[in-house]
């Protein structure tokens, strides 16, 4: 199991710090919403790395933990709005798993803002930009996620 702590002196580096965010986007709504932002040429911080999954319900806790382990300072999970899931209720499963994961993350001292769940529809390019921007700023304020060595604790 990986063990991660937030660095106690994060504020000092906040200004020069560019957080890395991994965004898991469902194919049908949120990924299309991100494309919509692109089509409208809305710019947003380049900090996000997008991973496309067919459904937010496919996102597994281990994917999120892997992102932290590999250097992500924050994770975004974006899903279809309630009732709009292409697969009926995958987004509902994803919210349930996210809620559970937050409890686990808090035990590792990982702040909630580092693991955001939100809904972005295929038409919500502007919302996508807003959510990404807010997440980048929130994580920037928290500072880098520090990862003690695997043996450390």
């Amino acid at each position: 199991m990986i063990q991660i702590q937030t660095h106690p002196e994060t504020q000092r580096v906040a200004d020069s710090f560019e957080p890395k965010i991994v965004g898991f986007l469902c194919n049908w709504c949120s990924y299309a919403g991100a494309d919509k932002a692109g089509g409208a040429q809305l710019s947003y911080p380049p900090n996000i790395r997008i991973i496309r999954v067919m459904c937010s319900g496919r996102v597994d806790a281990q994917h999120i933990l892997q992102a932290y382990r590999n250097g992500a300072d924050g994770v975004l999970i974006l899903a279809c709005h309630a009732g709009d899931c292409h697969y009926q209720e995958g987004n509902y499963r994803a919210t349930e798993r996210h809620r559970m994961l937050l409890r686990l993350l808090s035990q590792f001292g990982i702040e909630e803002a580092r693991c955001r769940f939100d809904y972005v529809s295929a038409g919500e390019g502007e919302k996508f930009v807003r959510v990404v921007s807010e997440t980048v700023e929130a994580v920037r304020a928290l500072g880098p996620l520090t990862r003690p060595s695997a043996s450390g604790g």
Binding site: D35, A37, G57, R93
Partner: protein
């Protein structure tokens, strides 16, 4: 692994923001990347031709295309791979236009982000496995459940296209509920005149040989899945050979039994052997075994004795269990009305003279309990009628929705009341008036112009029907808070339209879910309202939502369209390979996967050591993969290894 990377310039759309030189340099350092090639417009015919030729020459093992969104051209590029002899799933698209170039003004930043996304794609694609579409031989026959307007039109359309259809109807008569109405909104067309030609086509038309009609029959079991269903149908005996019967009705007169007539909602009685109503098709009586004296042990043969044709009345018929194969099933079982006994303030079943709209339809019908005379079945003609719209509708305590048809038929009632008994007072109590459509306004206008009609708007709970000397009394509090009272000889309730009676049992048998109101649940409210959530089970008519005949028939036709395109002649059913699969050795049969699968694609066959995913039913969402506590389920093309490799590489 030799991965070829193609960078699409997209004119200057991408290169304006992304430095291809730096990108090429960085990517070339990546392990596994055999070459990086910029192309002008990869999506153009020239571009695809170049790609095909180049793949033939370079022979990479995997391909990354960095271009626009995979939502645009992924399918097209997969076809190019296929044409060049590669497995089409050996491709990964990095979206560097919509998700990088167009949203990142700084070249430096855009190039870095593009590089990360392409690295992720390359790391992922190295782990892609060859996937293949599989094909399945299918049965092209169809079982249509319910012979109302939606089911009839669906069956007829399929039969005309040469399909074998089994039409399963639980009552002894075709036509559903509308065939029992005298006239229809919006233009007062005679209902039997509209439906009978369709029934005639189904029964005796040039394609009728393709339709097997099973009346008094219900689906009692279902096995299999899309393309290969096994449907079990239980048929109650009619005790009359409908094929040989000449429809003279001689058998009915001598029958000594009298029971409540459900075809007129209990407003009159019928014999134990009866036709549901005059003009019912098939034109043959049925014998109600529960009412017949023979069922009580008496040796009565009066009906058979009266029958002028040999061996048409058959007391020895027994219940039949019929098995039919079908590739698809259409559910067209119609609707019910909200039980007005749940609205005690409206007096239904307690105050004399209070009827539901369906009962009133029969009172207006010339083949109904009063022969079409507007009067109470055991009483006089009314001098005033109160029509209470929205009974149980637009009410959070009962049904929050508007059924959308009640105003239309309520104004039809207004028209018929004025026509049959000119001068009769008609009070419309309504919460909202709703009659969309290009023709529907005319009956409303007609009602508004009727000098004997009054309109009163009420809110939920604002109307109370009680018994009174002069008939029924309607006390009301209108929407402005004014209170009043009128006396009416007849009160007609327009209850909320609900899911079909029997829908619960049928939904359980078919595995097709119902929504929170009890209607069969559609795959998508607007794009796929004629499909259930189970592949191969389609929905038509008011069993899916309250609707008028026009919409119901359209849905019947839509369901036929799905069947004809999905189970097309001369083609096998293609199964997409992006599905889940189970490693039985790791499965603990905890059944978590089955509980999260929205498509009932997962079963636990006794002969198997673990869960089993039906690839045909699986939509490939991956929810079960994430839910499996043992990691025993694999999501093809979205495996953990592939996703984890992509995460690692985009962060590198």
């Amino acid at each position: 692994m030799r991965t070829g990377v193609y960078l699409c310039r997209c004119g200057t759309n991408i290169t304006e923001r992304i430095d291809f030189e730096r990108l090429t340099e960085e990517l070339s350092k990546q392990a596994g990347v055999a070459y990086v090639k910029p192309v002008d417009f990869l999506c153009a015919e020239d571009g695809k031709q170049f790609l095909e030729t180049d793949l033939g020459e370079e022979r990479p093992e995997r391909v990354v295309i960095a271009a626009c969104s995979p939502r645009e051209y992924e399918r097209a590029f997969m076809q190019v791979l296929e044409r060049s002899g590669m497995n089409p799933y050996f491709l990964q698209i990095a979206n560097i236009r919509e998700q990088v170039a167009w949203v990142t003004p700084e070249v430096e930043q855009a190039t870095s982000k593009a590089c990360a996304q392409i690295r992720g794609a390359a790391a992922r694609v190295a782990l892609h496995e060859p996937l293949f579409k599989t094909e399945l031989a299918v049965c092209r026959d169809v079982v249509v459940i319910g012979a109302g307007p939606a089911g009839l039109k669906c069956a007829l359309t399929l039969a005309e296209a040469g399909r074998k259809v089994v039409l399963v109807e639980k009552s002894p008569v075709l036509g559903g509920l509308p065939v029992r109405y005298e006239d229809l909104f919006p233009n007062m067309e005679c209902a039997p005149c509209m439906i009978e030609p369709v029934q005639a086509e189904v029964l005796h038309g040039p394609h009728s040989a393709n339709i097997e009609i099973l009346t008094l029959a219900e689906v009692s079991g279902l096995k299999g899945y899309y393309g290969n269903f096994q449907v079990t149908i239980r048929q109650t005996p009619r005790y009359v050979d409908a094929e040989q019967c000449i429809g003279c009705g001689e058998c009915i007169t001598p029958c000594p039994v009298s029971v409540s007539n459900q075809f007129n909602f209990g407003l009159d009685s019928r014999k134990a052997i009866a036709v549901p109503f005059l003009g019912a098709l098939p034109n043959a009586p049925f014998l109600d075994a529960a009412a017949c004296l023979r069922g009580k042990g008496e040796e009565c043969t009066l009906c058979r004795d009266a029958c002028p044709v040999e061996n048409v009345v058959r007391y020895d018929e027994a219940e039949r269990t019929i098995e039919r194969s079908a590739g698809a099933i259409v559910v067209a079982v119609g609707f019910g009305l909200y039980d007005c006994r749940s609205l005690p303030e409206l007096g239904y079943g307690v105050v004399p003279g209070v009827y539901t709209s369906l009962e009133f339809e029969r009172i207006l019908a010339s083949n109904g309990p009063t022969g079409g005379e507007l009067k109470q079945p055991e009483g006089a003609a009314p001098q005033s009628v109160a029509i209470i719209h929205c009974a149980g509708s637009l009410d959070q305590q009962h049904r929050p929705y508007c059924s959308g048809i009640c105003c239309d038929y309520a104004f039809k009632f207004n028209h018929l009341i004025e026509k049959k008994l000119p001068g009769t007072k008609v009070h419309h109590f309504y919460k909202e008036l709703v009659m969309p459509g290009k023709e529907e306004f005319s009956l409303y206008q007609d009602a508004r112009e009727n000098p004997h009609a009054a309109f009163l708007r009420y809110v939920s709970g604002g109307v109370r029907v009680t018994g009174s000397e002069g008939g029924a009394a309607v006390e009301y509090r209108d929407s402005a808070g004014n209170q009043g009272r009128i006396v009416a000889d007849m009160v007609v309730l327009c209850p909320a339209v609900t899911g079909a009676p029997g829908g619960v049992a049928l939904s359980r048998i078919l595995g097709a879910s119902r929504d929170r109101f009890g209607f069969f649940e559609e795959l998508h409210g607007r794009m796929d309202s004629a499909q259930s959530r189970i592949k191969g089970i389609y929905l038509a008519g008011a069993c899916q939502a309250p609707m008028d005949i026009q919409r119901a028939v359209n849905q019947g036709m839509a369901a036929a369209g799905y069947v004809l395109s999905g189970l097309a002649e001369g083609r096998k059913l293609e199964i997409e390979p992006i599905t889940a699969s189970v490693d039985e050795t790791r499965c603990s049969v905890c059944r978590t996967c089955g509980s999260v699968c929205p498509y009932q694609a997962i079963s636990y066959p006794p002969e198997s050591r673990g869960a089993s995913v039906n690839a045909l039913l699986c939509h490939g969402c991956g929810t079960c993969v994430a839910a499996c506590p043992c990691g025993a389920i694999r999501g093809n093309h979205f495996t953990n290894e592939q996703i984890l490799a992509e995460i690692e590489a985009v962060l590198a």
